[in-house]
């Protein structure tokens, strides 16, 4: 065994970590190597002289009191951080969420044309269809309906020509827009039509 290996094993031995069987070979080396024996003695003295000083009396009571104060401050700080999620705020958030939910529900519940109404329109067409076919198969009835429709259309016509002229003549802007020659022509035509004109 080389001295370097032996010294590594001396260190492991001091820590109780010497692998099984390693002790025998180490002891065999130490019997023949004085330097390693001295090294082991030195390490044993170092190990024996190592130790931490005891804390002074009353130290741990003060230590625990100080730590307790710090933990309390830490918890208080944690609670302050948690304020946004405190009970009051939680109720406010819940109320806001409920309002939004109610709004969405109302919007969804609003009546709007749906498939049922479209189907109703289709159904109305289906109702009229046999009537139209019946009218078309009866020429007399078709002629009667045509006349009725024509009369309805005429009744809905705006005005006749004479009425249209009357409406135009009643408009002062019409007369203002005519030139003197046009006015004279209109007057002459009126006198001739009504016979109110004087001797030619």
């Amino acid at each position: 065994m080389r001295c370097q290996t032996a010294r590594k094993r001396i260190s492991d031995e001091l820590d109780g970590a010497l692998p099984s069987g390693g002790g025998v070979r180490l002891e065999a080396h130490l019997r023949t190597c004085r330097a390693c024996r001295v090294y082991r003695e030195d390490l044993e003295r170092i190990q024996a002289g190592t130790g931490l000083p005891e804390a002074p009396a009353g130290f741990w009571t003060a230590f625990e009191r100080e730590l307790e104060a710090k933990l309390s401050a830490e918890e208080a700080g944690r609670k302050r951080v948690e304020v946004p999620f405190a009970a009051g705020r939680r109720w406010a958030w819940a109320a806001a969420a409920a309002l939004v939910l109610a709004g969405v529900s109302l919007w969804l519940a609003l009546p709007r044309p749906g498939p049922a109404m479209t189907e109703a329109w289709v159904a109305a067409d289906d109702i009229l269809d046999p009537i139209v076919r019946a009218v078309e198969s009866d020429p007399e009835l078709a002629g009667l309906i045509d006349r009725e429709l024509q009369a309805s259309i005429e009744a809905m016509s705006p005005v006749g020509e004479a009425e249209a002229a009357g409406l135009t003549a009643a408009d002062p802007l019409f007369w203002e827009s005519l030139s003197d020659d046009e006015l004279r022509a209109v007057v002459a035509a009126l006198e001739k039509e009504s016979g109110l004109g004087g001797p030619q």
């Binding site: 492991d12 190990q47 931490l52 000083p53």
Partner: protein
Amino acid sequence: MDECPEASLVDDARRGGREAFAELVRRHERRVRGIALRMAGNAADADDLAQEVFLTAWKAVGSFRSGSSFYTWLYRIAVNTSLSFLKKKSREANRAPFDENRSAAVPRGDAAPGPESRSTLNELTARIDEAVADLPAHFRASFALVVDQGLSHADAARVLGCSENTVSWRMHKARKLLQARIKPFLEEARP
């Protein structure tokens, strides 16, 4: 509460039980401060670090997995908090990289004058403390866990998040450095 199994204390603490956590603090405070003292090298910083360790543990205990070992978890917080402190201190002091930094040796205010043999032991202890304080931080962490706290290489490896071989190698290197550093004193004091 004194006889209460640690697992049930941890469960209570995870549910926000301050009394259970206080009991866990009482059980581990000496060891945690010991690690901090070895790492920081002075009592004032060690006390602050120990407080910080327990505060961090309290904040994080809710995420602690009940299947794992509480003390491993707590010591890991202690080592990591100490390493962060040393890095910060190193940056503030604008020194060499933190592995190379030197911190003050563990103060021994309680060293009372006594017989010569005791005085020699105290001096040896003081020199060892100085030499340990000069170790690179990761060696010091291994030393604190294995020698000061008596953890096995396997447990120390779990705390440090490395392999057992790494812990073994660091301990070997640390001891070599310590022996070389205080060899003159050991020679003088050799019987």
